[in-house]
Structures are given as structure tokens and as C-alpha cells.
Amino acid sequence: MHLASLGIVLYAFWLLLSGYFEPFLLAAGAGSALAVVLLSRRMHIVDREGHPIQMIASVLLYWPWLIKEIFKCAWDVSRIILSPSLPISPVLVRFKPTQKSQVGLTTHANSITLTPGTITVEATQDEFLVHGLTRTAGAGVIDSEMDQRVSKVEGYR
Amino acid sequence: MFAAGAIALLVALALALVRAILGPTVFDRLQAANTIGTVAMLMLAVLGFLTGRPEFLDLALVYGLLNVVGTIAVLKFFRHGDLGAPGEGVEPHP
């Protein structure tokens, strides 16, 4: 099932890239998608992690919120960079994320890194180590709204 | 308009280059190189518009892909002194 869905996604990707709808190129796209699916299977990278179809619908709802959050934080960090006194207070924070699957954890870690002002330094199942540019930014990642939202997106069990 | 974007990108490029030259550790230089890669990718897209040749976008995509592969390859080399060390992730099949 993951293989079939990967094939469809890849073919859509081809059509969007190509933009030429000639019979030869359409056929080449189908052949390429099939070949890539077979190669990916040979690499053993098509599974719940490599092709997380279980998350696609909910992640589309998550991204707008994430992007809004990123803009907010980027504004704060820009102000810090441009202010003459450079008011930073870097901290390291450890906390335990609530996600259960590897994809969920990765989404959470990457979301933290994407928001300017916080960077995930280490990410394991039990513990995230986050570097924050300021004390408030660092404290903001513990039991955050982001954590809850990613757990909801993950929809695991 | 695209010229204004291109100039801003050039300024960013110059600043990142300053960090790449100053950078006390190898990681600072890598970070600067990564930023330069991002800026170059955006520059390609902007230049594509500036010259009216949207095929440049394909180049930008390739550049973005190779940027991340390159950064991670150099990182791995500095971490292990060896590109082939097993297990940066675990084995792909459980």
C-alpha cells in the first residue's frame, strides 16, 4: 500500500515538474515512477517512516500554524539581532517529548529547529536537548503547544 | 524589483562570506557555507526571473538538494574522518 501511494505521489511530482503532456513523456514518467518505487523498495526506505501517508491530511493543517509561529519568532530574533545591546541569554533545556513514533519525533525536532530562537541539539525517543537564544525562548519549548499539536498530527494509536 | 532582491541577496552573501573567513571553528565555516548555499539557491531563482528564463528553477532545486547532501557529507567526514562509517542512522530495514 505504501508502495502504490509512493508511486502515485511520484507520478504527480513528475507531472508538476514536467509540464509537457506528450505521450512519450507521460509514459516515461510512469516508467520512472515505477523504477523509483522498485529502487526505493530495494533500499528498504518505503514504510511508515519513509512515506508517512498516515500523516498527510493532518500535517496540512499543522503547517499553516507552524509557519505563523515561525514568522512570529523570526520577528523577535530579528529585533534581538538589530538591537545595539544584543539582549541574548542562551540556555540549554532538556525535556521529554510526548510523541511515540519516529516521524512524530522528527517533525517535532524539525519544527523546533525551524522556529528561529530554538535549535534541537539532540533528539532521542526519551529526551530532546534544545538550545534557546533567550531564556524565554528556551523555556517555551517545554510542554509547548507545538508538542501537543505534533502529537495530534501524529495520530498514533 | 527582482534587482532589489538580488542586491539584498548579494549583501547576505558577502556577510556570510565574512563569517566563513573569520569563523574560528570548522562548524562556523560549515554553517556559513550552508547559508551561502541557501542564498545561492535563492539567487538562482531570482536570476531566472530577472533574465526571463524559468529553467533556472530546476538548477535551484538541484542546488538545494546537493547543498544538504554536501553539508551532511562534510559533517560526517569531520566527525568520523571516514565517509563510509556505518550507522549514522540505523540499518534501513528493521
Partner: protein, 108 residues
């Protein structure tokens, strides 16, 4: 309508360029490696996206816009991964972050 779109796209490109420059400026100004990464992530996210959004508005509903969107998505996936890998490697190599007074650097 197209006038409003033009102004909006102008604004996005300018803001994107300014954010890119601010991020790169932070890369020069910040005191240590970890804080520099925060600055660089502004260039990678907001600056890049606003520039791409400006171009998407210029391109209209075409495949060019789709490709620009792909570049934005690619950045959404790759830039945090590269940043995370860098931070993790730096810490594994024993590069200690500069911390605010009162923070314990050895055991956070």
C-alpha cells in the same frame, strides 16, 4: 487587482531580502557558534519564503509557481535537518555553548 498583487509581491520580495540580510548580519554579529545558528535560520526560513512568495505572486497560477513552491518545501525539510546535524556534531565534538550567567554549562 494586478496593481495590488504587484505591490504585495514587491513588499514580499523586499521584506524577504531584508530578512535574508538580517540573518546574515546576525551570523556575523552573534558571539558564539550556537547563537549564530539561530541567526542563520532566519535566512533559511522567513527570508527565503518571503522571496519565493514574492516570485510566486509574480508567476501567477503556472507550473513556475509550483516549482517555486517545491523549493520552499525542500527548504522546509532540509534546512532544519542540516542545522540539527551541525549542532549535534558540534556538541559531539565537545564545543561548549556560551550560556547566560547563572546557567550550568556542564550539566544542563
Amino acid at each position: 487587482m494586478s496593481m495590488a498583487l504587484d505591490i504585495l509581491s514587491w513588499f514580499c520580495m523586499l521584506a524577504g531580502g531584508v530578512f535574508c540580510a538580517i540573518g546574515a548580519f546576525g551570523l556575523v554579529r552573534m558571539p558564539d557558534f550556537y547563537t549564530r545558528m539561530h541567526a542563520a535560520s532566519i535566512t533559511d526560513t522567513v527570508g527565503a519564503w518571503l522571496l519565493l512568495l514574492g516570485m510566486i505572486l509574480q508567476a501567477g497560477l503556472t507550473l513556475i509557481a509550483v516549482k517555486l513552491l517545491m523549493i520552499a518545501l525542500l527548504l522546509l525539510f532540509t534546512s532544519p535537518t542540516a542545522t540539527h546535524a551541525l549542532a549535534k556534531a558540534a556538541r559531539a565534538r565537545g564545543l561548549q555553548p556560551l550560556l547566560a550567567p547563572g546557567e550550568d554549562p556542564s550539566k544542563p
